[in-house]
């Protein structure tokens, strides 16, 4: 781990990125390709609930959905993880048991990150102690936007340390960083400081994840991998509501990073409503007919 040489980072042309991202949307997945991609997408879901009204009942039901997304076809799923607030980690951990579904917790004064470092680190430790396998932290966007890049690097490194064995996902909150150059720098800082995953958004800010944002982050991951041999995972979150768009993300991952990244160890979708759209498309592929929304459980 060393502070990255930011001068080596090439500038980013926004028009070019948008055009490139649009090219990935032109791929047409059919038949077996589509079916296997849809199934893959289900296994990459971090099924999420991050609301003030979240309760043990809600989380338990959501965990059941993550473990068994659709009763009629046990070959589909399970999802990669459930993502909850720290106070509900224990409930989630008990509910998923040894199913293999991971429990992720947001921490570090999510979603704004506006607290003292001590409290933010304590929150991580609390979530880990409650049983979280993964921690989704937020960076201090205020610090970043004033140019205090060293501060961001230090903060991620400290959070990584606080995580212990838990995996660290770093949310850079693309919608608040605004420019693609900022997104690139934040990605580089996070990876250099030890992020296991970089993640676009909290889901509380719009725009959240977009294909161009994700493209820039994937490019950072690729360049970092080629420089260091270290693989870093990617998690777009927020704004991915339908299966078609999810598949476009997967095409982008496949064509940019290659097959190695096509597992939930290295790629996740942070989403809630995406789950049922994926299931609906899978049922369509299986039966040839679209089913109504009521045929899919809303947990």
């Amino acid at each position: 781990m060393a502070y990255p040489n930011l001068k080596d980072i090439a500038p980013i042309d926004e028009v070019g990125v948008k055009e490139r991202a649009a090219r990935y949307q032109k791929r047409s997945l059919k038949g077996e390709t589509k079916l296997s991609a849809l199934k893959l997408a289900v296994t990459m879901l971090d099924i999420t609930t991050l609301e003030g009204k979240d309760s043990p009942g809600k989380v338990k039901q959501m965990c059941r959905k993550a473990m068994c997304p659709i009763t009629s076809d046990p070959s589909i799923g399970p999802a990669a993880a459930v993502c909850v607030y720290p106070s509900l980690v224990k409930v989630a951990k008990t509910a998923v048991g040894d199913s293999g579904v991971q429990v992720a917790s947001v921490a570090t004064a999510f979603p704004s990150g506006q607290s003292r470092m001590r409290e933010r680190l304590t929150e991580i430790k609390y979530a880990v102690a409650e049983g979280a396998d993964e921690i989704d932290m937020v960076i201090s966007r205020g610090k970043f936007l004033t140019g205090n890049y060293r501060g961001i690097y230090d903060e991620v490194a400290k959070c990584k340390e606080a995580c212990g064995d838990a995996h660290l996902k770093v949310i850079i909150e693309t919608g608040e960083l605004e420019t693609l150059d900022n997104i690139r720098i934040a990605s580089e800082l996070s990876m250099a400081a030890g992020a296991d995953f970089i993640k676009t958004s909290t889901g509380k800010i719009s725009p959240a994840s977009t294909l161009p944002f994700t493209l820039v982050m994937l490019q950072s991951i690729l360049d970092y991998y080629e420089r260091t041999g270290i693989m870093v995972g990617m998690k777009p979150a927020g704004g991915i509501a339908d299966a078609k768009l999810a598949l476009q993300y997967l095409v982008m991952v496949k064509e940019m990073l290659g097959k190695k990244w096509l597992t939930n160890k290295w790629f996740r979708f942070g989403a809630s409503s995406l789950t049922n759209d994926l299931l609906m498309q899978l049922e369509k592929q299986r039966t040839g007919l679209y089913q109504g929304g009521d045929y899919f459980s809303k947990d």
Binding site: I12, G16, K26, T33, K259
Partner: protein, 489 residues
Amino acid sequence: MYDFINGNEYAPAPESTAIVNIKKKYGLYIGGKWVDAQGKKTFETINPANQQVLSKVADASKADVDAAVKAARKAFEGEWSSISGAERGKYLYRIARILQERSREFAVLESMDGGKPIRESRDIDIPLVAAHFFYYAGWADKLDFAFPGAGIGGQKVKPVGVVGQVIPWNFPLMMAAWKIAPALASGNTVVLKPAETTSLTALLLAEVIEEAGVPAGVVNIVTGAGDTGKFVVGHPDVNKVAFTGSTCVGKHILKSVAGTDKSYTLELGGKAAHIIMDDAAIDQAVEGIVNGIFFNQGHVCCAGSRLLVQEGVADKVVKKLQKRMETLIVGNPLDKNTDIGAINSKEQLAKIKSLVKTATKEGATVWQPGTSVPRKGNFYPPTLILDCAQSHTVVQEEIFGPVLTIQTFRTVNEAVEKANNTQYGLSGGVWSDKGAKVFKLTDNVKAGIMWANTYNAFDPASPFGGFKESGIGREGGLHGLYPYVKFNA
């Protein structure tokens, strides 16, 4: 086999051909009628992706061209010159709208007959064709305002008369639009000869023109090979010649019009420099390079075929480019996932192969990705030629295929010198994050079109044409009207 995670390819996603209705045989469109060639001669047009014969097309003789020019003259002196600019504009708007309505049909046919990927014919060619007709439709009733000072002293803007137009096979329908739209907007009548290997969309355009109710004889389409083109260009009653094609043929045309009062525009070959500075947005530049040379299998006169990279970033750019090229899909032009379609003809494929062989012989290094390329049909993989010098044949000659040569340079001045060290001067591209550097390069490279931080971007409002052996005159924009008008009382 097509498993998303482990498969190397996506399951086929072919565009249906049910929308096109290819006739067994096509005649010539002369004087608003479909007629056989005199002597009934025909030739076959094939699908370059699978070598299947698509149809038979009439082979126009000298007598047929005579008839077409006669019909065009009659229309010019008759109804067409008596109607107002606004009326002419209406016809052009109508053509543009019908083209949009039938865009899928045109896209599929263009890909079948010419070999370009459906993604391009659907998203680039046909939309630009319609845009071109819309653009010039707008000028039709504003010609008196298009040329400042033209009205002074009783002068008037007038059409030149009968225009003979010969177009190439790389953008069959788009070139037809570039030729026909400004000619009609300014009141001329047209005899157009499409390329021998790609006649079908021009003939379908003739149907659209008929459907739009354009008076008989205003647009005449004569199909055939080089000889038919010669008859069109050499016809004594043609007032203006417009040609897009090779520099070699362009030179013959220039000789043939010497000493006549025909005006002419020629849009010929190119060997564009694509310059990457070390401060460029590298990842987007790599995409620009791919767009610049592999668009339409490299059958593009303005293709960015000579890559000039600043030494400090050369290794990085080449490595990223190679990685990107590994993901390009070469194959069935009608598959929606195809990036690079079929080479237009066997002859062109042989030419590309022979030039790449020359590169190896002269000591350059040829690199191709591991991409699978269909064995049947005319296909060629995207290719890089590394370790090139200015003196290599492949750096000097236009290849007109998916082949990119790579050279390095150290300073802006050296980039300019290398870029200009060619007999061509059609286009070029520059990538840099610094505005001043961009303008220094675009101002000093002698080319008709310069792109900065993009490549192969087209718009009907922007003039297009070259310097040096890349041609004479401009098409597109207001500039594109000049060759089709004269100023007199």
